[in-house]
Subunit: 464 residues, 2 copies
């Protein structure tokens, strides 16, 4: 760092400290904790300070100071991103939003809620538990809703209820110049100018810091049932999914876990599922319609050589099933103690899903690395969780090779390099392959129009 830059940084830190007092820290362990996410990405640098903010106005003050001194600003929520989104590649101020935890309103009549960004999905879910309403977007981690906006999170319910893009009605955002905007209203739809809400959803903190979020809620379905079934061949499991989707059977969730993932869950969650390729399903509707839909899927399972189409008929059993599913990432990690996760994420048109998964599984057979497969397969979206020792260059190289082949495969099938994890640091080349240099240039020009000094989470999505 030049002495000018150091000078600017220390002035910025001192001005922020004068506002936040002890809520601005430069303690090394805090910097380290704010400099790394849940993935294998290894920081080259940590943030220079962490600012614990409590209001939109404080965020605006902090960003204004950083703008004055051209210091990078990186929003920080639960730290559960998977492509290095929160890493301070150029140093700067990590703005920790975990003290912004108010659920500002729940409008039962309109089925919407407005929350601060530090509220996690489980906290919202707990808050709603007696309301008859629920929020469907559920990424694997206990992510913050601000982070879920930033990465356009989805999860197991997206096949029925959509992702953060479909479920975010409006955002309050602090822009790079410190200005505070509100991108929409509480109306269910709007054609009022550019869709700023959806520009910010998935922008990974590079366009501003989200400080309030208005979300759609849904009534708990009157009828709800869950089931699981198993297959010797993973292709048979995926074909069951494809046929279910093509017949238009309205599944609320349809999740694939391969044999290795089931083994991991059994070890981690103390369950005793037979270690085979499995589908976990859920149906929402009336008691009659969920039964009818489940029977239809049961027939497809049988036809595709599946067995054990079992019901989780009561709530406790259902919760156990989904708790096991949600722990898949951590369970995978437990297959190789001390390892780091390299979770991949592609999404392809449903007709290509079986080919994509079968070819990928073959790649893994030919590799010395292990990687369970899990997926929100109703959307055509799946993940490998590559388990690596990040200190071993041979393992990094092999994981890169498998990941690159997977991305190439998805792109050649008219799919995307990421269904829900985002680009971050990890997929910048893949994004360029997917959409081309002109799209990247367009994104970059939008970024620079909104943030001319490139202070908002710099170095992510596109190079430079």
């Amino acid at each position: 760092m030049t002495s000018d830059a150091e000078n600017s940084l220390s002035k910025a830190i001192s001005e922020i400290k004068s506002i936040l007092q002890e809520r601005l820290t430069t303690a090394r362990p805090v910097l380290e904790q704010h400099g790394k996410d849940e993935s294998f990405h290894t920081p080259s640098r940590y943030p220079d300070a962490v600012a614990y903010v409590r209001s939109t106005e404080e965020v605006s003050q902090v960003v204004s100071i950083c703008s004055k001194y051209k210091i990078p600003v990186i929003p920080f929520g639960a730290g559960s991103s998977l492509e290095g989104h929160l890493m301070a590649v150029n140093g700067g101020i990590s703005v920790d939003l975990n003290e912004m935890k108010s659920i500002i309103s729940v409008n039962d009549e309109d089925m919407d809620t407005t929350v601060q960004p530090g509220v996690t999905r489980e906290e919202l879910s707990q808050h709603l538990r007696h309301s008859g309403l629920f929020f469907p977007v559920d990424p694997g981690a206990e992510a913050s809703l601000g982070g879920m906006v930033a990465t356009k999170a989805s999860g197991t319910n997206a096949v029925r209820y959509g992702t953060m893009a479909e479920n975010t009605l409006s955002l309050t955002v602090v822009l790079a110049n410190g200005k505070i905007i509100k991108t929409g209203t509480r109306s269910r739809k709007s054609a009022a100018g550019y869709d700023l809400t959806r520009l910010f959803v998935g922008s990974e903190g590079t366009l501003g810091i989200v400080t309030e979020i208005t979300l759609r809620l849904y009534g708990l379905p009157e009828g709800l049932s869950a089931a699981f079934c198993q297959f010797d061949q993973i292709g048979d499991a995926v074909n069951t999914v494809i046929e279910t989707m093509q017949l238009g059977i309205p599944v609320a969730r349809i999740e694939l876990l391969d044999d290795l993932q089931i083994k991991a869950i059994n070890g981690y969650s103390k369950t005793d599922f037979p270690e085979k390729n499995s589908l976990f399903l859920e149906f929402h509707g009336t008691p009659d319609s969920t039964k009818e839909n489940a029977c239809q899927v049961g027939e497809l399972v049988e036809h595709n050589n599946g067995s054990d189409f079992q019901w989780a008929s009561n709530e406790e059993e259902r919760n156990k099933l989904w708790a096991a599913r949600h722990s898949a990432g951590y369970a995978a990690k437990s297959l190789r103690p001390g390892c780091e996760m390299w979770p991949t994420d592609v999404c392809v048109p449903i007709s290509k899903l079986a080919d994509c998964i079968v070819e990928t599984k073959q790649d893994l057979k030919d590799s010395f690395l292990i990687a369970p497969i899990v997926g929100h397969v109703g959307d055509g979206n799946f993940h490998l969780v590559l388990l690596i020792n990040p200190e071993d260059p041979r393992e990094i190289e092999e994981a890169e090779r498998i990941n690159d082949r997977l991305i190439e495969r998805a792109l050649s099938m008219e799919g995307t390099c990421t269904g829900e994890h985002g680009i971050g640091l990890g997929k910048m080349s893949a994004l360029k392959k997917e959409l081309g240099a002109d799209c990247i240039e367009l994104m970059r020009s939008i970024k620079l129009a909104v943030d001319p000094d490139n202070i908002m989470n710099p170095g992510k999505i596109f190079y430079g």
Copy 2:
């Protein structure tokens, strides 16, 4: 026009003519037809030429020439916009996309289609009629799909299937510099960088010209039923809608038509509905579930003093019902021969809908203008069709007064100034009231980043 500007324009026209030959015209009747949409907005100027293009490459060539000479470019589809979107306020070249009518692919297995922008919604619907698939977005007019992307169209099915924002997977776009980009893939979801697809949906031709569109399709429901019911008091009709939505009864369509609109339809479509406030409904699902859902709504209708919950049990009867609904705009116009339509468009949270409509109906009682009310009320979205003589300043002033009051009312109820018609020329002040000067500034800076010379449909959405 200065002589420099005239010189540039004639050079541009001559270069485009050398490519398109007789498909570039400056004939006055063609210019007039391309200079006005279906609304009351009166052109101050017509385009200087109309270019009939046949391919993405031709669009790119035309835009490149216009870019070189800084000549405005206005995309033209069916001409059915309602806020003056297509008007050539600074002259320029109207790019007519009606010869780009290919349905490039229909992927049955993935339930998607790729079309050129000149295909209309009815043409797509006809093409799909034996496929078991349908495309749900159905604005009142026989709009082109390119125009529907540009205005973020929705319609009667949006309450169940979403708007163009939820149903557009990817776009090919020609940018202001003539470059051709593709904003996405055929995958159902993606977190790959900024959501360019949704930035272009609703951008009203101000960021580029859409030349290919990939859309989601849906399987025709196994069970489908329609019904209608009537109410003496419009508040009772709206309360039925509110309760239906709040109970989470999955209606596919729930449309309000007030007594005056029914009178208009009877006159125009030769139907004989009693002239009362009416709801038209449709249910999609299994044969059992649609019956169950309809019974639930029937009870709400009865409880809200409604009568005549009648079934349109066969396809012919159903089609008649929806044909009548789709003709609502033209029917309204027939109430006052020779008049122009001023169709308004607001959307409010569902809990505010009864208040919003009842207060608006009272405004109309106190006015000398007439205006039927129709609405996609399940979304909280409704329209007045003000019938005016645009030559009479007193009528224009009164229509403005009613429209302004309606917009103020919607905004005060946390709603939006437009649910589906867009901003165009007509709602620029309303947009500023709704989102504030900083949001407009943000939109403008994005516009100028993408189109630095402001040649793409200038003068729309924001002033300048």
